[in-house]
């Protein structure tokens, strides 16, 4: 269920808003009360008082009257009125009739003038009442301030409208994680992401298998590491570690490196450990050793001729295998028959199968072999595509088998 947004408004802003709403409500309640009071009082004066001054036929009742007496008596009666309301705002209103003759005087009375007209024998007579009301402070102020507080709380809890960026996030969520598309909390976190983390986040959101909070965590951590992440590797990491965001981050941020852990029989490619079968692993290690020890533009090993296996290299490779506990059969074969081109091809193929099965062809490509034709012999030569400095864990290999970088003559 989506929750309303709790904005991170500072208390000062909330108080200011409350004050503004209070002023508005005080004005509104006062205006409503005095307007209706004035209408009601006007009606009362019109039906109650004026017929006692001017009769229905239009004659003044007190035609011989001493006007100041009558005026004083009237004003004494209407001086204080206590209006009634469902919610009291006004405590009392005062009225004062200006005169029984003449025209209304412009008045600085607090709430203005009530002017009533009558048709009399002298023409239209206007009676102007100065009208002023007093608020019931004890009731009016606390209630309005209280209602203002409620409204302020309500306003702050209303979900804010989405900016265009926010709406984009929502659309992305809608497409891939529809159940969470209206989660205001999530949207707020998404909007708060730093610019660098956004492409990663967008990519992660598109993966149905990745829950949004996990994706957020990954994106933030990657952003914190400050590393540029390749999308393909990120997705691969996600695939390999579906419920381990830390691992995903590690792999995604990992350098493009091939590391051999001989104890675990594992080639760690871009952070992902691949356990290879023993013999292909050792051949991979051997190729890696050659590549790592050679200058960047070299590191090739040319296949031996098909009819003449390389006994020297076979001996060295068998020594390497023996050191790392390779299969006896492979070792014997190398020692007896030497290093054959066919064996090399087979093993390279196995390595490729293993890598591709986990990484896919595209990602595995840099960690597999490139081929060229040896200029002198015309035979194929192979090397690991990665540059030498990207290969680690093969320091011992050169000790165990001599540096045979140049088979080419």
């Amino acid at each position: 269920m989506p929750k309303p947004a709790m904005t991170a408004s500072k208390p000062a802003a909330a108080v200011l808003l409350w004050l503004l709403i209070s002023v508005a409500l005080l004005w509104l309640s006062w205006a409503c009360a005095t307007h209706s009071a004035r209408e009601s009082i006007s009606a009362e004066l019109d039906t109650g008082l004026l017929p006692r001054i001017i009769a229905a036929k239009g004659f003044r009742i007190g035609q011989y009257e001493r006007d100041d007496d009558l005026l004083a008596k009237i004003n004494r009666d209407i001086q204080t009125l206590k209006p009634q309301a469902w919610l009291p705002v006004i405590s009392e209103c005062s009225l004062h009739l200006q005169a029984l003759h003449g025209h209304p005087q412009p008045n600085a009375a607090k709430d203005g003038l009530i002017v009533l007209a009558r048709q009399s024998t002298e023409g239209t007579q206007e009676f102007a009442f100065a009208f002023a009301c007093q608020p019931d402070y004890a009731w009016w102020l606390p209630t309005q301030l209280g209602i203002a507080a409620l409204l302020t709380a309500l306003f702050l809890h209303l979900p804010r409208p989405l900016s265009p960026a926010g709406r984009r996030w929502q659309q992305t969520l809608q497409r891939h994680h529809p159940h969470q598309a209206d989660d205001q909390n999530l949207l707020q976190q998404l909007r708060a992401l730093k610019d660098n983390a956004r492409p990663v986040m967008e990519l992660l959101l598109q993966q149905p298998g990745c829950p949004v909070p996990v994706a957020l965590q990954i994106a933030r951590q990657i952003n914190q590491n400050g590393k540029q992440v390749e999308p393909a590797w990120l997705l691969k990491a996600l695939e390999q570690y579906p419920d381990q965001p830390d691992q995903v981050v590690r792999v995604a941020c990992s350098p493009a490196r091939l590391h051999f852990d001989t104890a675990a029989q594992t080639a760690e490619i871009h952070g992902i450990p691949l356990r290879l079968p023993l013999t292909p692993f050792l051949y991979y290690l051997w190729y890696a050793g050659i590549r790592a020890d050679s200058p960047a533009d070299e590191g090739w090993f040319t296949n031996p001729p098909t009819n003449r296996p390389d006994y020297e290299q076979g001996r060295r490779l068998s020594q390497l295998m023996q050191h790392y506990g390779g299969h006896g059969k492979a070792i014997n074969d190398l020692q007896s028959n030497g290093l054959k081109a066919k064996t090399l091809d087979q093993n390279r193929s196995k390595i490729k199968d293993e890598l591709v099965s986990v990484l896919g062809e595209t990602l595995a490509a840099d960690y597999l072999f490139e081929t060229a034709r040896d200029a002198q012999s015309g035979r194929s030569k192979y090397r690991i595509k990665l540059p030498p400095e990207a290969i680690t864990g093969v320091e011992e290999v050169s000790e165990i088998s001599l540096n045979t970088a140049d088979q080419a003559t």
């Binding site: 509104l28 009601s40 006692r52 009257e65 001493r66 006007d67 009125l81």
Partner: protein
């Protein structure tokens, strides 16, 4: 469960609000409209009924006497003008012989046409003042209920002008405007002036006659020069104009302001008190008239 359903639909509404700036603004507008409407209803204020006193009456109470009966009625007087009304009432309230029969006095002043047949037939008032022709016109059998108690001295009525000497000739009145009271029952300020012009054979255009609702307006107009002429019972009432500039033309010296009529049901024991009280009225209003009825 209804509660859960409402919560879900409420949350759905919240998400709708956040979809775009337009939705948000619309929601805020709707909230404000709802708030204003609610305030309009909640803070609707109504005035209480006005508690107005009777502006055209005066009351006083007699001193309670130990020997008199418990439930004494109030003595009701009707007259046409407020001057001296309080004095008449107070004089009565102060008299012991009057207090024996009445708990107090209420004197009202209204226009002459306030007195109607039903008020006479019901003897609504114990004592009233009005012109003979008005009363007799309303109730031919007045004697069944009331008798004439006190007549008034006669007074003189004049045309008055602040500009020149009025004369009862058509030539004088040509181009002049006169001010009258609109009340067709007013003898001095409506009936008599018009009749006097008729007697003198002077015909006025309608625009030459301006009617006013009360004396104050009439005096103001006369002083301001809005009308050239008005009538005055010279010496009878204090005039609100500059008498040094005034010129007079007699209309009639046989004007009666009215008579006092007393209900037949009133006990004769209070007649003396009433006469004494009315003496005040006459001594104030007609200072030149002879002293009237005396009793103890």
């Amino acid at each position: 469960m209804p509660g859960r359903y409402q919560l879900i639909s409420g949350c759905a509404l919240l998400t709708l609000i956040s979809r775009s700036y337009f939705h948000y603004a619309l929601t805020i507008c709707l909230l404000i409209t709802a708030l204003v409407s609610a305030y309009w209803l909640l803070f609707h204020t109504k005035a209480p009924p006005l508690n107005l006193s009777d502006y055209y009456s005066y009351q006083c109470l007699t001193r309670p006497l130990p020997s008199s009966a418990a439930d004494k009625p109030e003595f009701q007087i009707l007259t046409v003008a407020s001057p001296h009304a309080a004095q008449i009432a107070d004089k009565l309230c102060g008299r012991e012989d009057f207090a024996r029969y009445y708990s107090g006095v209420r004197i009202r002043w209204q226009r002459r046409d306030f007195l109607t047949l039903d008020k006479i037939q019901n003897t609504r008032f114990d004592l009233f003042f009005n012109r003979a022709h008005v009363v007799e016109g309303i109730a031919p059998n007045l004697d069944l209920y009331y008798r004439m108690f006190r007549d008034s001295p006669h007074y003189s009525l004049y045309w008055v002008s602040l500009n020149d000497q009025p004369q009862m000739t058509p030539e004088y009145f040509a181009g002049k405007t006169i001010g009258l009271l609109a009340d067709p029952h007013s003898q001095s300020f409506h009936i008599e002036p018009l009749d006097s012009l008729k007697i003198a054979g002077i015909g006025l255009q309608p625009q030459q006659i301006i009617f006013y609702g009360d004396m104050l307006s009439l005096y103001n107009a006369f002083n301001a020069g809005d009308v050239d002429l008005m009538t005055t019972p010279k010496g009878l009432i204090s005039n609100n104009f500059d008498e040094s500039k005034a010129r007079y033309q007699l209309i009639s010296n046989d004007m009666s302001p009215g008579k006092w009529y007393l209900s037949n049901a009133v006990n004769p024991d209070v007649h003396c008190a009433l006469q004494t009280a009315l003496n005040i009225y006459y001594s104030e209003v007609f200072p030149d008239a002879e002293a009237s009825h005396d009793c103890q």
